[in-house]
């Protein structure tokens, strides 16, 4: 789950106008800024989806993340929530380790992560979806893979078994602060214009 708190502020005359608008249109301003930032986030994730999604995978990670974006007003701002497993890991980075919970396949606590090997038909899948997998380990390097036999009987490595997996933070999965500020300000201008036009 990834949460983004948007607090709109500014300096000078524009900042003063924004503050006044916030005072007079508080709840409405929060809703509008929230929706503008949510829409910006959706557009951004969809753009990433079209460039980063690998064909052949059933699930488009970033497109699904875009569908998950919702906004809600909070006091003096808005909260954008993206309840999508894996997105926070990409944004903040971090190290993933086995949870130790019981494996669906072996019935024993999980001690290794199974990372699908590209181009082997394992991407987007778990070892539980394959029949008859076995571990092949190298005594010398200590490296291990989960392998299976193809229809012709050939052994094929499908997953690399690792103790942990470290991911660098990738701030590009979300728009920049400046983009959020611009989207929020633009929406506020539209709200102000429509409000004034109504008088």
């Amino acid at each position: 789950m990834l949460d983004i708190q948007v607090n709109l502020d500014g300096s000078g005359a524009i900042g003063l106008l924004r503050k006044l608008q916030w005072s007079f249109q508080g709840r409405a301003a929060s809703r509008v800024v929230g929706e503008a930032c949510a829409e910006l986030t959706r557009d951004h994730l969809r753009r990433i989806a079209s460039s980063r999604h690998r064909s052949g995978l059933a699930r488009n990670f970033y497109a699904c993340a875009a569908d998950a974006v919702v906004s809600e007003p909070v006091s003096h701002g808005a909260l954008i929530t993206i309840p999508h497993t894996g997105l926070a890991l990409r944004y903040y980075g971090g190290t993933v380790r086995p949870s130790g919970r019981v494996s669906l396949v072996t019935g024993r606590p999980i001690k290794r992560l199974a990372i699908p090997i590209k181009g082997r038909g394992a991407e987007g899948k778990t070892p539980g979806e394959f029949k008859g997998l076995f571990v092949v380990a190298s005594k010398r390097s200590g490296k291990a893979v989960l392998a299976g036999r193809g229809p012709s009987g050939l052994v094929r490595a499908l997953f690399t078994l690792v103790k942990s997996s470290t991911h660098k933070a990738d701030k590009s999965v979300l728009p920049t602060d400046d983009q959020y500020t611009a989207a929020g300000a633009d929406a506020l201008d539209e709200l102000l214009a429509e409000t004034i036009n109504g008088f």
């Binding site: 789950m1 929706e35 998950a68 919702v70 809600e72 497993t85 539980g128 539209e190």
Partner: protein, 425 residues
């Protein structure tokens, strides 16, 4: 299932699991929309336990606490443990319940529908609809074989007729597909297979919606003057949903409704046309009861009284009560009950708690009897009122509005008598 955290997860968790032998086509032809929308089902899937676990797992996914691959693995393993095997020749196809194609479709569709609802709901706000009064259907995800949305859109537009829709004419395969939010084109069957105002509008569709600002909507002649759309009614607001069952197989409709117990009622509407009414799940009433102390005037239906209870209520007030009349609770009534009877110190009475109010549907379905409310129970209320006197000591009074328009039986007050002090009522 732990309580879902997000709007999308709550939406999915509120659905009732229904096992069925019907195909997708049979479901769309013979199950009324109100029932379909409130159900978690998969065509030709009879394993209710498997469906319930799948629903719980996708609910976790919506809360960001599970991944789709893990859910798919569990679905396949469960089906295998149940002894399921696809029919010969159907292995790997959409009709094979354990295939990648089928399991992925179930997860993707349930996820997209619930997400679509959450986004749609967050946009039902006057200020949001002022800034973005219109929306555009656009291709958000690439598809190998895209549907002909231009033909579908223009067909719906023509069917609605010039002057009855704000929809633009789609000049190319990419549209523009723009109309005011709330325009009937968004639910038109040519555009929208499911009839819900949020996407997806068809199976595995890569089309999504995005807002169109007021200034742009005017340029496209979609918004005229200040005719901004109003926020739409939230289908999760705790009220009853109903839809026509005309032309549908009565036995099939009744069998599906039976899975909902007191939450669904099949009845004859105006002109004797069969209809189905569906009450929200217990979570809606619980939310009203638990949230009453923080104010508001929310209302939610508990469900429908049994036929014999309706007869007793009718006899008590001296007029018939329509079968689709729900029992409902409002936050104001809960506040009244807790204020007047929540700190009860009178001899012979127990203080009433929110937990007691939550049990109202269970209490009125149990042993006891309905009678007309006494003047003391009615208080200043001048309409029809009935009281359920439970053998277990609870007395629950209701206001009855039993006419054709919006009939309802609304909780008025409640108190609990100790066994030894209970009068022979």
């Amino acid at each position: 299932m732990s309580d879902p955290a997000t709007t999308a997860a709550r939406y999915l968790a509120s659905k009732k699991v229904v096992a069925t032998v019907l195909s997708s086509r049979e479901i769309s032809e013979h199950i009324p929309r109100a029932l379909r929308d409130a159900s978690f089902f998969s065509a030709r899937t009879i394993y209710a336990g498997h469906l319930a676990e799948t629903q719980a797992e996708i609910t976790r996914l919506l809360d960001g606490r599970a991944g789709p691959a893990e859910i798919r693995t569990r679905m396949k393993m469960r089906l295998e443990a149940l002894g399921y095997s696809p029919a010969p020749g159907e292995e790997g196809s959409l009709t094979d319940l354990s295939s990648d194609l089928r399991t992925n479709l179930i997860i993707a569709m349930q996820e997209a529908e619930a997400r679509g609802y959450a986004v749609w709901r967050s946009q039902q706000d006057e200020a949001v609809l002022t800034v973005w009064p219109a929306q555009e259907l656009f291709r958000a995800q690439f598809r190998q074989k895209p549907r002909d949305w231009r033909a579908r859109w223009n067909e719906a537009r023509a069917d609605l007729g010039e002057g009855n829709t704000s929809a633009t004419y789609a000049e190319t395969k990419d549209g523009p597909f723009v109309a005011l939010r709330g325009d009937r084109i968004w639910r038109h069957p040519a555009v929208n297979r499911f009839g819900r105002p949020w996407p997806p509008f068809d199976y595995n569709s890569g089309m999504r919606l995005r807002g169109v600002k007021a200034s742009q909507a005017r340029e496209k002649n979609v918004l005229k003057g200040r005719a901004f759309p109003k926020p739409a009614r939230d289908p999760m607001d705790g009220s009853i949903s109903s839809s026509s069952a005309a032309g549908m197989d009565a036995g099939t409709v009744h069998a599906w409704a039976a899975a909902f117990g007191a939450r669904a009622r099949v009845y004859k509407g105006r002109g004797g046309i069969p209809r189905v009414a569906v009450a929200p799940d217990a979570g809606a009433a619980r939310q009203v009861i638990d949230g009453a102390s923080s104010g508001g005037d929310a209302t939610a239906a508990f469900g429908f009284p049994a036929a014999d209870a309706l007869e007793e209520i009718g006899a008590a007030i001296g007029k018939p009560v329509r079968p689709e009349t729900p029992l409902q609770v409002s936050a104001a009534d809960v506040r009244h009950i807790l204020k007047v009877h929540g700190a009860e110190t009178r001899a012979g009475q127990h203080p009433v708690t929110t937990e007691d109010i939550r049990r109202v549907p269970e209490i009125v379905a149990g042993p006891g009897r309905w009678r007309a409310s006494t003047p003391q129970e009615k208080g200043s209320y001048e309409g029809d009122a009935v009281t359920f006197v439970a053998d277990t000591g609870e007395r629950i009074s209701f206001r009855v509005t039993a006419g054709k328009n919006d009939p309802r039986i609304t909780l008025k007050t409640m108190w609990i008598e100790k066994q030894k002090d209970r009068p022979a009522d």
